[in-house]
Symmetry: C2
Subunit: 266 residues, 2 copies
């Protein structure tokens, strides 16, 4: 049987997604666990494939991978979660034997931009330039022979506390593409870049490097296919407890740094 599995992880804890010798990576940890649990024997025979190999520092709430296995479907997620730290598996779906998670209908990335007093209208205007089909070679670390044309379905802008949220939706993105667009959008909103500068870079006729935004604020929110994932309830309460504990620790750090700032301000 072939299954698609949905999972999340926090980028801070890994040296990126793709396996690297002697470094902790998301893919490395997952494959180790798949083998330890005997869910797969090795990634080749299981036809292990991932939807998105996120950059170092980038997090995911909804990345997807696919494997072939004879393991009991209702025990896969529980077995994996029992062996993993900082990676949370929560959705599963049986798929066709030729299913490759790279071929998604749509990917959704969210960027949390620290709001240093941005004019949201200017962010929206700059974002609009990127929507639609363009040559994004200047907005990616291009791999040789890779088609630079991509179609961004939408970029939605919203505000939440001290963040401006940019939601990017497209069937596929090039390497570093979201972070390079975010950098151009924020520089444009702050007046360091004109829309003409962006248009010239988007034309792709000359090489332009407009910089890149930091990876820590980027989350792969979801990857969409023709099917829905079943959310596995059996181990969900343990997962929730684990995530809530993390959240509690972080919020305690949050109040500390807020207090510390108040203290030095006297």
């Amino acid at each position: 049987m072939r299954y698609a599995l949905k999972f999340g992880y926090h980028g801070k804890n890994f040296f990126g997604y793709a396996r690297q010798p002697n470094l902790r990576t998301v893919e490395g940890d997952i494959i180790d666990s798949l083998k330890k649990t005997m869910i797969i024997e090795d990634e080749k025979s299981a036809n292990f494939q991932s939807a998105s190999r996120t950059d170092k520092g980038v997090s995911a709430c909804g990345n997807v991978l696919a494997i072939d296995t004879d393991f009991r479907k209702d025990e896969i997620l529980g077995a994996l979660n029992a062996h993993l730290e900082d990676i949370w598996f929560y959705g599963i779906s049986q798929v066709g034997n030729d299913f490759n998670p790279r071929h998604a209908n749509q990917r959704w990335y969210r960027y949390y931009l620290l709001d240093s007093g941005f004019d949201v209208k200017k962010i929206q205007d700059a974002a609009k330039i990127f929507v639609g089909s363009h040559n994004f070679s200047n907005f990616s670390k291009m791999e040789e022979g890779k088609e630079p044309k991509r179609t961004i379905d939408s970029i939605d802008i919203s505000k939440e506390n001290e963040f401006i949220i940019l939601d990017f939706r497209a069937q596929s993105f090039l390497w570093n593409m979201v972070r390079r667009i975010v950098k151009a959008i924020s520089d444009s909103a702050e007046g360091r870049l004109s829309s003409d500068d962006i248009l010239i870079a988007l034309a792709g006729e000359q090489k332009v490097d407009l910089g890149i935004a930091s990876p820590e604020s980027l989350i792969l929110m979801d990857v969409h296919y023709d099917f829905e994932f079943e959310i596995e309830i059996k181990n969900l309460s343990d997962l929730k407890k684990n995530l809530e504990d993390n959240l509690h620790k972080i919020r305690t750090e949050n109040v500390f740094y807020t207090q510390m700032l108040r203290s030095i301000e006297g």
Copy 2:
């Protein structure tokens, strides 16, 4: 000249305050920096003394230490901060040659209790039992020969987002005392402990162990003396930037875990 210095640190980054060989401690890092900057030659001749040796995991926004030095007063904090990570010096005051920071007028500790649906009235009722002068031997890890009587001036209860805040004020506290009282208060509010149980433990006539709350949620907010500290403005903008960067990182983690919980909830 003898100076009192005010500083903060996040407990997560250290194996406690008190120096230990081969472990990163607050005191160890501070003394190393005091020596490297030539502010002091060694802690003995400088009569290095600290107000509070907080437990492993406990943070401080306003701990205090004192040293003798001939260093220029207006350069001490800047020199120290340039050499330190995760410790922030921000206040200074010249003091008498016999000043010992342990002898404070009042210490203020704050505990951030995760609000799991507490009845605040019950928290307040339990807290009241501890205010005033009591034998706290059952609410501390007693050091031999140490006087177990202490006087708690006040315990103020307030709410902030998902936390119930407990503010403890007293001239001095015993080792672990705040965390042991917090544990008894929260157990009492949740009905696992009666006020009689607490009164018996407070009488101190028999040994009772009512447990201890986790250190990560405890902050030494301030230590008060007869004098005020001068807030050093020169390096304040760098300090602020550093703290704000930390805060931004934490808030980005916060939004990730919040999103991740939303994702698994479907």
